[in-house]
């Protein structure tokens, strides 16, 4: 389902000076798989997620999802691709602080102008599922870290994505909340969603429902 073929991503840090975030990465992830990308900070995990989400383009190589080369998509099509296929849970949640819980969750649906009934049902469903319905009218900035995390997960699921990408999802959570998040991931996995988690949190290692753990070191995958 997801394939990275000889993918290299280079960032220019200064004029004439660049660094390879990842280099010649080859990776294949099947439908419904839950994969943990592990590695130290700056190893290139987030870059892999960014490429799969078509948030950035590889310097060389190909990124394919369901056989489509998403690395060649124009900016508009890349947005459409994300809207229809991707649920992204960011490290710092990336909620809009002055919007309410409901408004934040609905953000990915707004551009597609959905039917109001459909949107209502879907919203209730995700809020119940991720235990945030009781905070629906609260502004995101007034929520605790764990609640913000649940809003971020609900938002990532509102468009019923095929792929969920989570970038250091427990970096700002305590151990209890992190375990709770892992339980929720397990639920998502059971719904046959493909999940890639980029983390260096040991709580994710050795979990029974994780299909694979892939280690990245200095931009390359360790076999």
């Amino acid at each position: 389902m997801i394939e990275l073929k000889n993918v290299t991503k280079t960032y220019e840090v200064r004029k004439g000076e660049s660094v390879h975030a990842i280099e010649n990465v080859n990776l294949a992830i099947g439908e419904g798989e839950l994969v943990v990308l592990k590695g130290a900070s700056g190893s290139g995990k987030s870059t892999v997620l960014s490429l799969v989400a078509a948030l950035s383009k590889p310097t060389s190589g190909e990124v394919l999802v369901d056989g489509k080369q998403i690395s060649k998509l124009s900016d508009d099509f890349a947005s459409l691709y994300r809207r229809e296929n991707i649920g992204f849970i960011f490290q710092r949640y990336n909620l809009l602080p002055n919007l309410s819980v409901e408004e934040n969750i609905l953000l990915p649906l707004i551009p597609s102008n959905p039917d109001s009934k459909e949107i209502g049902v879907r919203l209730e469903e995700v809020m119940e599922r991720f235990h945030i319905a009781h905070k629906r009218h609260q502004k995101a900035k007034n929520l605790s870290g764990g609640e913000q995390q649940r809003v971020a997960i609900a938002r990532a699921n509102i468009n019923m994505p095929k792929i969920i990408l989570a970038d250091e999802p427990t970096a700002n959570l305590d151990a209890n909340l992190s375990r709770h998040f892992i339980e929720m991931l397990g639920e998502l996995k059971s719904a046959n969603t493909t999940i890639i988690v980029a983390t260096h949190d040991p709580l994710f290692f050795g979990l029974s429902f994780v299909d694979r753990e892939i280690e990245i070191h200095k931009g390359t995958i360790l076999v």
Binding site: L55, D75, L99, I110
Partner: protein, 391 residues
Amino acid sequence: MKINFYLIEFAINSLLRQRAKNFFIFFVLSLLIFVLASFFFVASSIKHELQTTLSALPEITIQKLRGGRHVDIDTSAVDKILQIHGVSDAVARVWGYYHFENAGVTFSLVGIDAYEMQYKESLQTIAESFSLEEGKPSMVVGAGLYEVFTQNGYEEYFNFLLPQGGMKQIAVAGVFDGATSLESNDMAVLPKEAAREIFEMPSTKATDIVVKVANPEELPTVAAKLRLLFPDARVITKEDLEVSYQNIFDYKSGVFLVLFLVTLLTFFMIIYDKTNALESEEKKEIGILKALGWRVDDVLQEKFYESFLISFFAYLTGIASALAFVYVANAPLLRGVFEGYSMLRTPFELPFVFDLQTLSLVFFLTVPLYVGAILFPSWRVATLDADEVIR
């Protein structure tokens, strides 16, 4: 195309989230639109009024000059003028200004002879409608002037101070409706003899002579002949007056407009500059929206709604305030820009002139400029890699 109300709702909420900043922009923009629209409304009204006045002007006016100053002309010149081919009529006018010290008002006095052919349609109507010659001398006054009279206790007559001393009492025979006319509002029409007495002008003299030319094509030729006949006089054609009035008006309005447009441009440059250096929070918001599947179009559409809502409501507020300011409050202060010192001080209501062109001009000078000043910087951020913006 189905309207995306979610996007509009998002835009409204977005405006409300930064209500202090947006209210300030709305207020400043409304104020600028108000000033711009008021200026155009006053200009249109006065121009319309001026046009009405100018169209009623005599075709040729002859004024005697001495030392470069306008002095009374001999009425005997009328006979010489009537002998010129092409001249259909010549009337010696007796008119002038009278300063009413108590009210601090200067108004026009126009003398007419009821049996004479009047050089202006409005005067003809007055001559036919009111009897100024029967019994004691009487006059017909403009509505504005009558208001000044009544405020000063002169409801039935007015006492004119004569140059040689003493007073001349003239009864008010009627009031003509001149509420919307620059010229007639401040005017009193009375018999020529009474006017001569007030101005201390002998019957052999007149203020000036107006000439009617039957064929407008012959106007330049007749004017040239008159200049030859009266080398010491100023021969003014209607066209000269029109150009002169227009020049004064355009100069005044032009200076004001240039100053104002510079202010408006500065405002948009500040807005553009401010938006161009979007705060990191705003940039991040666009990045997040892009990461969540919003296309550049969606971001721009949302920004369009935001900027359009704020600028369009500012436009409506500015226009509504300008209409009230100009046509209800009669444009205090701003009217002075056009009127100048020579304007008579009697009340004068600006006539309402509905000018779609003016409304469109104000709209296009403000709303699209503001929308553009917001959209362009947002577009620049929205076209960056979302990943780069979020990081």
